[in-house]
Amino acid sequence: MNLKLKDIVPQLITVIAVVLIFGFFTYNAQINMENRGIDFGYGFLSQESSFDVQFSLIEYDGSHSYFRAYLVGLLNTILVSVIGIIIATILGVIVGVARLSPNYLINKFAAFYVEFFRNIPLLLQIFFWYFAALRALPLPQDAEAIFGVFFLTIKGLYVPAFIWQNSHIFFYSIVAAIIAITVIRIHAKKVQENQGKQIPVFLISIGLIFILPLLSFLIGGVRLSFEVPVLKQLATTSFIYEGGVSLPPELIALTLSLSLYTATFIAECVRAGIQGVGKGQKEAAASIGLTPNQVLKLVIMPQALRIIIPPTTNQYLNLTKNSSLAAAIAYPDLVLVFAGTALMQTGKAIEIVSITMFTYLTLSISISILMNWYNKKIAIQEK
């Protein structure tokens, strides 16, 4: 009895203290807002926003609501995070493996990259890529075409737009290829388990993913043409490209700096993971006749991933949160569009900041859940 009380009382006090502190803050905010004649409410979300946004994945202009502006910002944040995570992961794995390379040059170059990029503040890197690198880019009228169709200019990267005919058939052909590959993999595994024979799954997969879509072009009636950007004159010295797709320089600078920065941390996670697998494992695998590739794929990586995934999850979360630095270089992310312009136009500071915080929380928790699920999937299956 006595023991129980001793356990409960400190916890109870903590809970009461937390509730009181939050209560005080809420009360304080309420009183202050009342005194200053500020209304509290989320009704503004349905009002017309009356400001435009530079870059949006969904249809949006100032005649849409503040809620739509919020979605625009959110999608832009997700876009830059997803691209950033993909590039950072690929780069991070390459650099992490390179750091363990016996080749002196590759090894030292990877080490230099990691030390250089992780030790400079991210905001500075964003400014560097945006302002220093941007200034070096040519004006649209001076830009040299890359492969004849890409134009990298100070106003952005212009790429050809795809114009599809019967695009659904192409889509089905890819789905069919994926299903075929999955079936073959399962079959190959069975064959190997039962007969010890190995089927070259990798080559077959590559063949399928190319041949099926190719067939859709040849006999499925799929046609693809490109709309190449064309230079258009706005004034004597002012030009843009029309047609095609334009990627704003803000997006490019932000993605580049976020992925280069985060890749250094992921590289270290990868290196730690590989080094964390005992040397004996590699030697034992080699001694039973596995090729170096098989050693890496079947023995080292499955064990290394268990070490790599949890800290890499943190890096994914960091990248997502760091994307809010976009505001500094005019990339219209959630912070710039919603916690910036919308907050200013409505004056609803508490409402908007709370929505923004909750959104980032949800984003981060979603990434966490996804990565934890993956982590569990690759964890040691006790039999």
Partner: protein, 346 residues
């Protein structure tokens, strides 16, 4: 009898002391902001992050500009020293929150007076210290001389969280022009991006354009187009709910403008005490009890004129002599063809 008299005198004295005390501090008691300012010994003033002519800090951290002078005038009136101001540089996005949350007591940061700002978000605009309008800047080499030459696809650099963003949309929409808005949080980055060639045009208040132009790599390469697309009355803002403080800021600004109207300058203010014109005498504290209404002494306005100068002096020092906008345009006294007109100080 004698004993009683003594008691009576002390009672009268006590009542008198109590009474004067009450009248003197009535306003101060009503105004929490005034009391806090006097206790702290400095005026807390929110300014821009650097806009030449309006609020700009030099290398030594000394702030100058017409917006800065409004805060200095309030400091001179309330604390007796125009230098007793603590300046807080704020971005357009932060400014109103800083004021409503009580981090600053005056926001004097080229802020446009609009209905929704005045009515909605717990702010009160006290007056106008600069009549402005939104304009566009372009490169001279572009050959554009009027907004009529703007074409679809034009990119426009600007600040977020300003009326500029809204006006820009109204303008381009009404002309049916498709445009790319590139909005930054800080003015310095807007200028850097425009200067680098990221945008075809840079849009903000015309005074801002003129001021930022001086910061460009080569100012002569840029021109401000003649069209004005909006009304932008800029002025100081205070928190809602402190009427005395609101009055002090309003009349500190009005004093500067009225002083110019009557020809009172920082140099001749003391001599004006013997003027024949009662309006002038009131302004320099030689007649009337104008300060008492705010809980200030009678020399409050004289100190403003002597330490900060009248509006014309402030304009000349900060905006005209620095080459930003030599022509006063609408910011001229109503008696000289402008629209500066303030209620009489009496």
């Amino acid at each position: 009898m004698f004993k009683y008299l003594k008691q009576l005198t002390s009672l009268v004295a006590m009542v008198a002391v109590l009474f004067t005390f009450t009248t003197e501090s009535m306003a101060a008691k009503k105004s929490k902001t005034l009391k806090n300012t006097q206790k702290k010994g400095f005026v807390r003033c929110g300014v821009s992050q650097g806009l030449p002519g309006f609020s700009n800090a030099d290398a030594a951290g000394n702030w100058t500009g017409v917006d800065v002078d409004v805060c200095r005038a309030v400091a001179a009136a309330v604390l007796g020293d125009a230098n007793k101001v603590k300046f807080t540089p704020l971005s357009a996005k932060e400014r109103f929150t800083a004021l409503t949350s009580g981090e600053i007591d005056i926001l004097s940061r080229n802020t446009t007076w609009t209905l929704s700002r005045d009515a909605d978000i717990g702010l009160t605009f006290v007056g106008v210290n600069f009549y402005d309008g939104q304009g566009f800047m372009v490169r001279k080499s572009s050959g554009i001389t009027s907004t009529g030459q703007f074409k679809d696809g034009i990119s426009a650099c600007t600040n977020i969280g300003t009326t500029t963003e809204l006006n820009m949309r109204d303008f381009f929409n009404s002309k049916g022009i498709k445009y790319e808005p590139v909005a930054f949080e800080k003015a310095d980055e807007v200028v850097a991006a425009y200067d680098a060639g990221r945008c075809d045009t840079y849009t903000t208040d015309k005074s801002g354009l003129a001021a930022q132009r001086t910061k460009m790599k080569n100012p002569d390469e840029h021109i401000v187009l003649p069209e004005t697309i909006s009304k932008e009355p800029l002025g100081p803002v205070v928190r809602q709910g402190d009427a005395v403080w609101e009055d002090i800021v309003r009349w500190s600004l009005n004093t500067m403008i009225e002083a110019e109207e009557y020809g009172i300058t920082s140099a001749n203010a003391d001599m004006m005490k013997t003027s024949d014109n009662p309006a002038i005498k009131r302004l320099v504290g030689a007649e009337g009890e104008l300060g008492a209404a705010f809980g200030l002494d009678n020399d409050w306005s004289l100190r403003i004129i002597k330490q900060v100068g009248n509006y014309g002096e402030s304009y000349k020092r900060n905006i005209a002599d620095t080459g930003i906008l030599p022509d006063r345009g609408p910011n001229q006294l109503w008696t000289k063809g402008g629209i500066l007109y303030v209620p009489p100080a009496r």
